[in-house]
């Protein structure tokens, strides 16, 4: 019995009470109550899939904080209206809006994802091979070094207006900007990774008479992989940043545009829906890249 009395369960009961106890007007929040239960069920599903004990516990804690947040939000925007009605629409309005807008949002997402994958994948496809080649060649490295020092630290956001006027379509411009934002972190980290491959491993490959493509793909690439993954993660964050920045400045579609557009009209339920949606998408993408990273680096003892 005692094992069911957890923080998240207690909060769930309180939350259900809050939602189902009618307002003076007689309104009952069925939808929100349902949502709270759906969240609990998904937590139980995730929990049953995760293997270690610590992670299981943490899913419940994460949910508890979410419940607390929703509870307070609802309490102060619907039951005791302390917060401004305009800036803090009540949860039910937002969620209804979220589901109503979902088809639209998905459509905007398509545009956003096209930009993101093009820019990001292009950056990886150029930066990783280039970094590996430059990292293994002393002369090229000496040439590249000053350029990296000058160009690397320029915040890529400053390129946006110029890129938009330079390139014929907004799509191309934002792909270029995402590319620039994503390029440097992964490029720099790839070079760093090559230079930091332990000397004894290079020595061992020399004694094994490795050279050419075998040396490149069997030693240099995996040896630099931890650093490449680090860079790729950073690049992904930069891509999100550049993506939204580009959409905020010059687009007429996309999730970033959606949020800016309705923000300008003061339509905050839509703005919050857009934010939640964007958060969910980013979470899904980083979860996916995390899986890939774990697979690539399963030989290290740090990533579990």
């Amino acid at each position: 019995m005692r094992k069911y009395i957890t923080t998240s369960n207690v909060l769930l009961i309180l939350l259900l009470g809050l939602f189902l106890y009618p307002l003076p007007s007689g309104k009952i929040y069925w939808l929100l109550a349902l949502l709270a239960i759906v969240l609990k069920i998904s937590q139980l599903i995730i929990k049953s899939f995760s293997s270690n004990e610590e992670k299981r516990k943490s899913t419940a804690d994460v949910l508890a904080i979410l419940y607390l947040f929703f509870g307070l939000w609802h309490l102060f925007s619907a039951r005791y209206i302390i917060l401004s009605k305009l800036l803090f629409p009540e949860p039910e309005v937002v969620f209804k809006m979220f589901f109503a807008e979902l088809p639209d949002l998905l459509q905007h997402l398509l545009h956003t994802l096209i930009l993101l994958t093009n820019g990001y994948v292009l950056a990886l496809a150029v930066a990783i091979p280039l970094g590996l080649i430059i990292g293994t060649n002393k002369r090229l490295l000496n040439v590249a070094d000053p350029y990296m020092r000058v160009l690397g630290p320029i915040p890529p956001i400053v390129y946006i207006p110029y890129a938009i006027s330079l390139l014929p379509t907004f799509q191309l411009a934002s792909i270029a900007v995402i590319f620039l934002g994503a390029f440097w972190p992964v490029f720099g980290n790839t070079i760093h990774g090559v230079l930091n491959i332990p000397r004894n491993l290079i020595d061992a490959s020399k004694v094994l008479n490795l050279r050419g493509t075998t040396l490149f793909f069997k030693v240099i690439l995996p040896g630099a992989m931890p650093s490449i993954c680090l860079g790729a993660n950073l690049s992904l964050l930069f891509s999100f940043l550049m993506l939204v920045a580009a959409e905020l400045i010059g687009s007429s579609v996309g999730v970033g545009w959606y949020i800016r557009h309705f923000g300008a009209f003061g339509d905050y339920p839509r703005v919050i829906s857009g934010l939640i949606f964007f958060g969910l998408i980013v979470t899904i993408i980083t979860w996916g890249t995390g899986r890939i990273e774990r697979h690539l680096l399963k030989w290290t003892d740090t990533v579990k």
């Binding site: 332990p198 004894n200 491993l201 020595d203 061992a204 020399k206 004694v207 094994l208 008479n209 490795l210 050279r211 050419g212 075998t214 069997k218 030693v219 995996p222 040896g223 992989m225 399963k298 030989w299 290290t300 003892d301």
Partner: protein, 279 residues
Amino acid sequence: MIDVLKLGKTFPLQASQGQAQSVTALHDINLQIIKGSIVSLLGPTGCGKSTLLEILAGLQSPTTGEVRLEGLPFATPIPTDKKLLKAYQRQHRFLSPQANRLFHNRPRHDIAMVFQDYAVFPWKNVLDNVTFTLSIVGVPKQQSQEIALGYLDKVGLLSSKTKYPSQLSGGMKQRLAIARALCVQPKIMLLDEPFASVDELTRQQLQELLLHIASATKVTIVLVTHDVAEAVYLSDKIFLFTPTPGTIYKTIEVNSPRPRRRSDAELVALQNQISTSFR
């Protein structure tokens, strides 16, 4: 036959306060290693044993003197003259100069090395580390699997064959490095303290394995060790080193016939003689 003639190695150090400093790791080393023999380099820490082994492996070049392999110059100093240096660099663009020269026009894999710090590939699991080495020598995939499993069995790693090096203990990594070096059946084996981090019982097993392979394949073995008993038991010849700068101050021939017994009075006496000469 490996001939080391008047070999010297000086490492430049970072200049401090404008003064160029350097460490002489090896000074005037002369030695001869007969084909198919087992020799040991014995000496206190820091006397340049690893450095000598790396020169023999072609990973470093000597500062003075040279190494000859079957009478052919194999490791020579990098030229200081600018023109000669250019030609030298062009010749050895991708590999270390010595390794390049060694493998030029030669069958692959004359040399295998067990590094002091193991140097197994951390991104390959135990089995793959060995099969990868075999694949480089050109052993077909199916065969290499079989051979690799055989050697892993011999070093006692069969049950850990799917583990990654990060999941192995130091001794296990060392045994993996040994399996990797043995499996290609090299002509020369350079072993840098190969049994340093395994327990006494395993060490004796591995020593027997090494002796077995040596007698079966006529491989030349150069063994670096701290362990006097090990040197005496395994070697035909022992070179005693002194540090700063590393020089050979004594060469000891071990003539007792094989197979030897560890408790053999002659060997024990030799051991004591070496131990006292260190003091």
